[in-house]
């Protein structure tokens, strides 16, 4: 079902059906989107539940000014960022760092089924600053257009292109060190 049809269902009062269509169309996409930042299946599962609760709560206030797709991704991205901030504070309290924690999760992930180069790529991405990590992940893994990323992150297309460029150069340098 298209986003337009989902909005039509919601506006006609079939709210639960509209929400179920969102679950059907977005749950798997959002899983992978969130997974690339949490680096952990269990954390992603917990976070997805919270994200969809937020979506259900916020649907009445959706006015249709943005695309449904970018609106949903914005909720998911904000919740993921909040999760990472809390994780970062917990890491600091235990005298660690979030980057080291995420690299460890990538290294020990029992669900990883890629090759060594892909593992190194995932670890290199965790070393990027948050915004660069977001832009790179959405562009490289999700094939998103800059205009859509701009709506999700609230940044201009030009700054996103710059962020992507810096992220790309940094990852190239990190991978060269390992090969």
């Amino acid at each position: 079902m298209s986003d337009k049809e989902i909005i039509g269902l919601w506006n006609s009062g079939q709210r639960e059906r509209a929400f179920n269509e969102i679950v059907s169309g977005y749950s798997e996409r959002l899983y992978w989107h969130v997974r690339r930042f949490t680096c952990c299946h269990e954390d992603t599962d917990d976070l997805l539940q919270e994200i969809f609760v937020k979506i259900w709560a916020a649907l009445p206030s959706f006015r249709g000014e943005a695309q449904l797709f970018t609106w949903i991704y914005r909720i998911a991205t904000n919740e993921t960022l909040n999760f990472l901030r809390k994780k970062s504070l917990r890491s600091l309290l235990s005298s660690g760092s979030l980057t080291a924690e995420l690299e460890r999760l990538v290294e020990d992930d029992p669900y990883f089924n890629g090759d060594e180069a892909e593992r190194l790529l995932l670890k290199a991405i965790q070393k990027l600053p948050t915004k660069q990590r977001m832009v790179f992940t959405m562009r490289y893994f999700d094939d998103m257009k800059y205009e859509d990323i701009s709506e999700i992150l609230g940044s201009s297309v030009s700054s996103l292109k710059a962020s992507y460029h810096f992220a790309h150069e940094k990852i190239k340098g990190l991978l060269k060190e390992n090969f």
Binding site: E28, H33, H41
Partner: protein, 124 residues
């Protein structure tokens, strides 16, 4: 969906995920009232306290304003209490003591002792 996925998921995970997420509207409807219940109880308790307190204050202020005790309390405020009989008596008797009989009557009623009378008599 992303073109590059480097992870597996547990078998049947996404079907199970959709089932769990689809239950959110029903769960939120139930938990909404459960979450509100303690606050509703607090509000009800607060309203009860305020209502009962207001009723007590209203009744108390009515009895004060009706003057049942105002005269007694007013006099007590102004005059140091030496002889409670003099100031809190409800008697309206204001006739002056003039005759010997009246004096004797007064002395008896105030339980004035013989020694005190003798002492006062010597002073005069």
């Amino acid at each position: 969906m992303g073109r590059k996925i480097y992870h597996n998921v547990p078998e049947g995970y996404f079907e199970n995920l959709k089932t769990r997420l689809s239950a959110i509207p029903q769960e939120e409807a139930v938990s909404g009232w459960s979450r509100m219940r303690p606050y509703a109880a607090l509000v009800a308790a607060f309203v009860a306290i305020v209502t009962v307190g207001s009723a007590i204050l209203t009744l108390s202020s009515r009895s004060i304003l009706s003057g049942e005790h105002s005269e007694e309390f007013g006099i007590a405020e102004l005059i140091p209490s030496i002889d409670s009989y003099l100031y809190y008596s409800e008697s309206d008797d204001t006739t002056e003591v003039s005759s010997e009989d009246d004096i004797l009557e007064y002395l008896i009623q105030t339980h004035t002792s013989v020694e005190q009378i003798a002492y006062l008599g010597n002073e005069n």
